[in-house]
């Protein structure tokens, strides 16, 4: 899980164009301007590419925080294994 969180942190920083010292681990949807609904799509696309997973629409809508995203990626990777 820590490995996923570390990699996911990098994806958040790159996709949302965050400063390196942003408290990504506690970030929630709409906490910052960059993570609006359009930024969310870019983020989802970046996570899918990076982890080679595919979210369904409900998961995209439910991805409300960094922590939720970590759990979702872990769940999708486990399902793929």
């Amino acid at each position: 899980m820590a490995e996923i969180a570390g990699k996911l942190r990098e994806v958040f920083v790159e996709a949302l164009d965050l400063d390196g010292d942003t408290d990504v681990e506690n970030l929630k949807y709409r906490d910052i301007e960059a993570w609006d609904s359009v930024g969310h799509m870019a983020l989802v696309a970046a996570i899918e590419d990076e982890f080679d997973v595919q979210f369904d629409t409900d998961q995209v809508i439910d991805m409300s925080s960094f922590k939720v995203a970590v759990d979702m990626v872990a769940g999708l990777q486990a399902a793929n294994d």
Partner: protein, 260 residues
């Protein structure tokens, strides 16, 4: 493509060489003409159709320039997950996705009093839902590269209405606004979203109207004739090309002036 055309193409430069395009509903009519137009301009094209065997057969019959290809995959655009899978698959296989034409749609006529719930569902789930699913998946595939061009298929009846096409006209009006709204959202990612609004085009989809109606529509059209699928396809090719690099959120009428 003949050798002469190939040489001519090389001399003037293929406008879409190196681009990767996806065309939904690409097995016939405007969709197939679009596949051909994009392939002729040098793009690698993946077309979709609900019947995968038929789609592959159609793709095999379309020429592509050297270094490009035309292939096909089965897809029902009402299935959001399937759309996402196909779009991601194309982007992964070809390394990118530059162009998406959300063409798949259905047309069923019914006078107002005969419009059933099922008919409304079919029109909206395919024409509106399918278009949104496609634009959504396309945007996700294009965002990281911060470039891309999407075209949706609206219709003149979405602008003017049409007796006997209440549900279809409503769905096509919605499609136009999918393009306008998505253009506003996606501009910051360098993704352009436009639409074409064909008038009465001579395709299998309009043959059910019958000769009398088609003749009447042609006479109402300032240019005095029905349109050809290839004429709509060329407008789409323009909108996805760099020639339209500052064009987004527009619905281009390809109707011989019928909208006037």
């Amino acid at each position: 493509m003949t050798d002469a055309e190939q040489i001519l193409g090389g001399a003037i430069g293929y406008q879409l060489l190196g681009k990767v395009a996806l065309v939904t509903g690409g097995t016939r009519g405007i969709g197939l003409a679009t596949v051909r137009a994009l392939a002729d301009a040098g793009a690698t094209v993946v077309l979709t159709g609900r019947d995968e065997a038929k789609a592959k057969e159609v793709a095999a019959g379309v020429d592509s320039v050297e270094g490009a290809s035309v292939s096909a995959v089965g897809l029902d655009v009402t299935d959001a997950k399937a759309v996402s899978t196909v779009v991601r698959g194309v982007a992964k296989e070809h390394g990118k996705l530059d162009i998406v034409v959300a063409n798949a749609g259905v047309l069923e006529d019914a006078l107002l009093g005969m419009v059933s719930e099922d008919l409304i569902d079919r029109m909206l789930s395919t024409n509106v839902g399918g278009t949104i699913h496609t634009v959504q998946a396309a945007a996700r595939a294009m965002m990281r590269k911060k470039t891309g061009a999407i075209v949706v298929l609206a219709s003149i009846v979405g602008e003017k209405g049409s007796a006997g096409q209440v549900a279809y006209a409503a769905s096509k009006a919605a499609v136009g606004n999918v393009a306008r709204s998505a253009a506003k959202e996606l501009g910051r990612y360098g993704i352009r979203v436009n639409g074409v609004a064909p008038g009465v085009i001579d395709t299998a989809m309009t043959q059910h109207l019958g000769d009398e109606v088609l003749t009447s529509r042609a006479s109402e059209t300032p240019l005095g004739r029905l349109g050809k699928p290839e004429e709509v396809a060329r407008a789409i090719r323009f909108l996805v090309s760099d020639d339209a690099s500052f064009v987004t959120g527009q619905i281009l009428g390809v109707d011989g002036g019928l909208v006037l």
